[in-house]
């Protein structure tokens, strides 16, 4: 080991850290730091080829998992915000001990500061903090003053952004007190990295993240004003349009909490309630992920529509615990950083264990003077953080000249603060070989009694530039798992803590939020619609490419009629006289199908499927999610983005198989809870509509040559095999109609769908006191009966004689009843809440 280190550690051999910075892996003379040696040896033992192979595999897993996308809106444009790197960051035990102590102190300090500012405000009276720092702060929400949160704790979750200066000391870059994000990423990074390097992970004795989440879970439960033994905890997310949504969903599932948005909650009698299919259920604790100012349209002035009217009052009444309490974001602003040493002396009587990056607030004359004099060296920032909304302001400030900055600051000094630039340490990242990047660390603390527990691990963030983090993250950053090394063997911990007392066994959970049920219902519908369209397209494409034994020229027009009916192609193609004037279908069809901007196109259906899937991610299994992901990835035109019929054939083939996997996993793995029922309701309603559409488009009017048409219809309806096994090649209308409509043994028949629908409707939660049947029960029964009582032979005979009316009327009736069923269900269970409005204000005169 004392020999030339370069020949020992082959992986690190080609790595050259930049000069003038601290490197996390190499010390002087490029010798590996002692705590990294075990890791580097283990990596070398794996060998380069194997390492590359494992990394490729890990990346594939990541792709198929949750974190491939940060938001559903435009999946292609928004890659994972923090691209994971293969090499973890290593932190030695004594070092982490020091960092932990400093974070613990800082969390306590910030908590006391919040308590004072939302209470007595002695810090302002005694001159420890300049009053204008609070008075001019848009985040000082007056209605929250005087709230008394459980245990008088104002800060349950805290995160600090840290950086290491060239001398090796850690500095605090920023405090995060509103609702620190990134925990989900830290977890995911750990999952991926430890799976990729299980041997190395074991050998290095890495501290686990689970104890932190166990502590977090305990803290959250302790906030419950009642139901202490089994409180209802919800994670209040900003919703699917937020870049943090995936993380929210991931955390909710990991911690076992219900994922909700503002619209899922309501306040009744000063109690927060969750709107579920089974009615309103009391909520005890809210893990808050959205900004305080978005939480209550009545008192906190949120106009975002995300809030819960009356929440502030429920908090005042002590009926719900919030983590973090409302208003906690007040002190995560740069302006406060300037006063931390003084606050620490005043509130704790201690020196800060870890310094913050030198910061000045321009709202005070000394600060203003210093900033104006040193504009070259400093980074000017908004003094008061507007979480999630001030990115453009930061970009603007970064692009301004010195004179422009000075002018802006002087116009409204209290709105600006400035910080020194830290030359952050370097760390190797893997990109075919090891290259340096700059490191910042987001470390987490959670309240535990009077003190704080620090997560043994962190979200390590890497970037090429030394710009402030808020800016560099928008320009693409990397992240790493952070391994805090233990001094001895590490105990295995699991989040599924042993219950102290026996739990009551349950077979159902009524806690499906109405909004989630709505999304699941539509997920089911889109899935069936996708399959119906894919089957039509496959049959069409195979006939157009001449791959089939098609003998008649009737089928393609018929299929085109079906496709036009479903909005896949222009209606003109359904009319034979017009077809000649339109561009050749061979070119138009593939392009139209892959065109996501056409709202009804198969691609658009799949986009919607993906969007819905991502929103209900916390309610479906990881495997189900993977299938949705594969479907989304797979259904793309071939090389160059120009779609051909061959592409269409190949992709629809795959799609149909993948959709079969999807429905298979639902049937085989989804517990028969309400989520399952709503998925099924959606699927069955959609499939019924598709069957009826097919029958209508293909048999009314009845074509002249029946054989090939019947075969095509049966093929599209996935019933050809059954038919052949029963009737061989003898194609008869009555037999075809029976199979498609009235055969209860055929899972593709209309009656099969209606039987299922009636059963599911029967199982929906309802108030038992109401006599008689509900609307949805009645509609479902009447639909089922109308098909069961059908004399299909007679219908077929009449139809064959050219009297299309009976079948036409039947189809029309079904087509009008199914939407009624859908509406009745949605009215009772899904549309719980209309949007809320502010009562019209009238000016004083």
């Amino acid at each position: 080991m004392s020999l030339s280190p370069l020949s020992v550690n082959r992986v690190i051999e080609n790595y050259t850290p930049p000069s003038g910075v601290y490197d996390e892996f190499l010390e002087d003379e490029r010798r590996p730091r002692p705590h990294t040696q075990r890791f580097l040896e283990a990596i070398d033992k794996i060998g380069r080829d194997e390492f590359v192979h494992r990394w490729q595999q890990a990346r594939r897993t990541m792709q198929a998992n949750d974190f491939a996308y940060s938001g559903y809106v435009t999946p292609e444009d928004t890659p994972r915000p923090w691209e994971l790197d293969a090499i973890p960051l290593l932190l030695s035990p004594p070092e982490w001990k020091r960092v932990s102590a400093a974070l613990e102190q800082r969390a306590r300090l910030l908590n006391l500061t919040l308590r004072d500012l939302f209470g007595e405000q002695s810090l302002l009276k005694n001159g420890v903090l300049p009053p204008e720092l609070v008075f001019a702060h848009p985040g000082f929400l007056r209605p929250l003053h005087g709230q008394s949160p459980p245990q008088d704790c104002y800060l349950h979750f805290y995160a600090a952004d840290l950086a290491r200066a060239p001398d090796g000391d850690w500095w605090v870059l920023a405090d995060r007190t509103e609702a620190p994000s990134g925990l989900g990423y830290a977890l995911e990074n750990r999952v991926v990295t430890s799976r990729m390097l299980p041997d190395v992970f074991r050998k290095c004795q890495v501290e686990r993240l689970a104890p932190f989440f166990i502590a977090a879970n305990e803290t959250l439960r302790s906030l419950a004003p009642r139901h202490r033994e089994n409180p209802r905890v919800v994670l209040l997310s900003h919703g699917p349009t937020s870049p943090n949504f995936f993380e929210d969903a991931y955390l909710a599932r990991y911690l076992g909490y219900t994922l909700v948005e503002g619209g899922d909650l309501a306040v009744r009698q000063n109690q927060v309630m969750l709107k579920t299919l089974g009615g309103l259920l009391p909520v005890d604790v809210i893990l808050r992920r959205q900004n305080s100012s978005d939480c209550d349209p009545l008192e906190l002035g949120s106009k975002s529509g995300l809030g819960v009217a009356g929440l502030t009052q429920a908090v005042r009444c002590g009926n719900v615990g919030l983590a973090n309490p409302l208003g906690s974001g007040l002190i995560e602003s740069v302006a406060f950083m300037a006063f931390m040493p003084r606050l620490c002396q005043s509130l704790l009587g201690e020196e800060l264990l870890m310094p913050g990056v030198a910061s000045w607030w321009c709202g005070q004359p000394q600060g203003l003077a210093h900033v104006l004099k040193n504009l070259d060296q400093l980074i000017v920032q908004p003094a008061f953080r507007d979480r999630g909304k001030d990115g453009p302001t930061r970009e603007l400030l970064a692009s301004m000249s010195k004179d422009q900055l000075a002018e802006a600051i002087q116009a409204a000094p209290h709105k600006f603060a400035a910080q020194e630039r830290v030359v952050r340490s370097s760390v190797p990242i893997w990109n075919q070989q090891l290259r340096p990047a700059h490191l910042a660390l987001r470390a987490y603390a959670v309240a535990a009694g009077d003190s704080y527990s620090i997560m043994h691990g962190a979200l390590a963030r890497t970037s090429q530039s030394l710009d402030p983090l808020e800016i560099s993250i928008r320009r693409g950053e990397g992240s790493k798992d952070a391994w805090v090394l233990a001094e001895g063997p590490v105990e295995h911990v699991t989040l599924l803590a042993e219950q102290e007392h026996a739990i009551t066994l349950r077979r159902s959970s009524s806690e499906l939020p109405s909004r989630a049920a709505d999304n699941i219902f539509w997920l089911g519908r889109q899935m069936e619609r996708a399959e119906a369209v894919a089957r039509l397209l496959r049959s069409t494409a195979s006939r157009l490419t001449g791959e089939t034994r098609s003998t008649s020229d009737l089928e393609v027009p018929m299929l085109l009629r079906c496709l036009a009916d479903l909005g896949q192609i222009e209606p003109g193609y359904a009319i034979s006289d017009m077809r000649g004037q339109l561009p050749a279908i061979e070119q138009v069809l593939p392009a139209a199908v892959f065109d996501a901007t056409q709202p009804a196109s198969l691609r658009a259906i799949l986009d919607e499927l993906f969007r819905l899937g991502s929103i209900v991610r916390d309610r479906i299994s990881l495997d189900t999610w993977r299938i949705i992901h594969v479907i989304d990835e797979g259904f793309r035109p071939g090389f160059g983005g120009v779609a051909t019929l061959m592409d269409l054939l190949a992709t629809t083939d795959e799609l149909i198989t993948e959709l079969a996997a999807f429905s298979g996993i639902i049937v085989e793995s989804m517990t028969r809870t309400q989520a399952y029922r709503f998925m099924e309701l959606g699927r069955r309603i959609e499939r019924s509509l598709q069957i009826i559409g097919l029958v209508k488009n293909c048999f009314i009017p009845l074509p002249e040559t029946l054989g090939p048409v019947f075969e095509t219809v049966l093929e599209v309806a996935d019933s050809l095999m059954t038919y052949r096994s029963r009737y061989l090649a003898n194609m008869q209308l009555s037999a075809v109609l029976d199979l498609l409509l009235t055969d209860e043994t055929n899972p593709r028949s209309l009656v099969f769908q209606l039987v299922q629908l009636a059963e599911h409707v029967e199982q929906l939660p309802r108030q038992e006191t109401q006599p008689g049947y509900t609307t949805e029960q009645r509609v479902a029964m009447s639909l089922l009966n109308s098909v069961r009582l059908l004399e299909i032979q007679k219908v077929a005979e009449t139809h064959s004689l050219g009297d299309y009316e009976p079948l036409e009327r039947l189809a029309e009736n079904w087509e009008s009843q199914l939407p009624k069923l859908s509406e009745a269900i949605s009215h009772r269970y899904l549309v719980h809440s209309a949007p809320s409005h502010q009562l019209a204000d009238m000016s004083p005169q």
Binding site: Q269, H837, Q845
Partner: protein, 292 residues
């Protein structure tokens, strides 16, 4: 002066409202010159559970929710208030405005600290460059603060046109400033912004004017609705109210409900409802002199 006040706000909805949450500031607060002797809040549909608390500024804020379907809401506040003639600070002897400005910045006594919070921007009062230019002519160096304030009040009264149709509660002051018209709330916000631009403390007052003028006096503008004006911190002379809508110093004709940084802190009634379809609102205010 004693007053009997009845303030009724009625909302009607074309469709049922299953639930509403409301926050009202309708109880006249006690001030050195004003005492609220009686106060009652009547809500229809009947709502017995009203939570009252003192808000951050010491006003009484009442919260209530109705969670039975209703087609209308009526809120009536009745009160009896006695307003004493305040000791009228002599305009010329008030402190120089710079002195007040300096005291606000440096004095950490409870009284001044309380005043200091009214120096900064608030949701409805965002200062802008032109505002400072507008205010400056009235505040020459060393001028007694009240002199400057009264002159500014008169200027706003003269330069701006009273027009109830020109603005809504959400019209920002820079728009009022550019278009030179508005209602009492706009003028109060505007003057508050002016004074804050030069580092003085000004707060928004929500209240009423007596409805029928004393004999021989003209009826004041804004007398049949809730009214708004402002108060300025004048150092030793304390808070002095001025009414730019009527170009007056607030005296016994002005009854204070609540004060805050701006309308947003103290609006008489605010609410959030679900559904409701078309909504209509009517307000009536009656401020009658009572027996002495």
């Amino acid at each position: 002066m004693k007053y009997r006040i009845t303030h009724t706000t009625k909302y009607t909805y074309s469709e049922a409202v299953p639930v509403c949450h409301n926050l009202v500031h309708l109880k006249p607060r006690d001030t050195p010159a004003q005492t609220c002797e009686y106060y009652r809040l009547l809500i229809l549909p009947d709502q017995s559970k009203v939570s009252e608390r003192l808000d951050y500024f010491g006003n009484t804020a009442a919260y209530f929710a109705i969670d039975q379907a209703h087609h209308g809401l009526s809120v009536t506040a009745t009160s009896r208030v006695s307003v004493a003639v305040a000791k009228n600070a002599d305009t010329g002897t008030t402190l120089a405005w710079e002195e007040v400005q300096n005291r606000l910045r440096t004095d950490r006594s409870a009284e001044v600290l309380d005043a200091y919070q009214f120096v900064f921007d608030s949701p409805y009062v965002e200062r802008f460059e032109a505002l400072a230019d507008y205010v400056r002519p009235s505040f020459e160096a060393g001028r007694p603060i009240l002199e400057g304030v009264l002159e500014l009040t008169a200027r706003i009264h003269d330069d701006f046109k009273y027009d109830p149709r020109a603005t809504t509660v959400h019209t920002p002051i820079h728009e009022v400033f550019e278009q030179r018209h508005g209602v009492c709330q706009d003028f109060a916000h505007l003057q508050i912004g002016c004074l804050r631009s030069i580092g003085l403390a000004a707060r928004y007052v929500s209240g009423y004017l007596r409805t029928e003028p004393p004999e021989g006096k003209p009826r004041l503008v804004g007398a049949d609705a809730s009214h708004a004006w402002l108060e300025v911190y004048c150092g030793d002379a304390g808070w002095i109210g001025v009414d730019p809508t009527n170009n007056l110093r607030a005296a016994t004709d002005h009854i204070t409900l609540a004060w805050g940084r701006d309308y947003n802190d103290v609006c008489p009634i605010q609410g959030t409802i679900v559904g409701g379809g078309e909504r209509k609102m009517t307000v009536s205010v009656d401020v009658a002199p009572g027996e002495e």
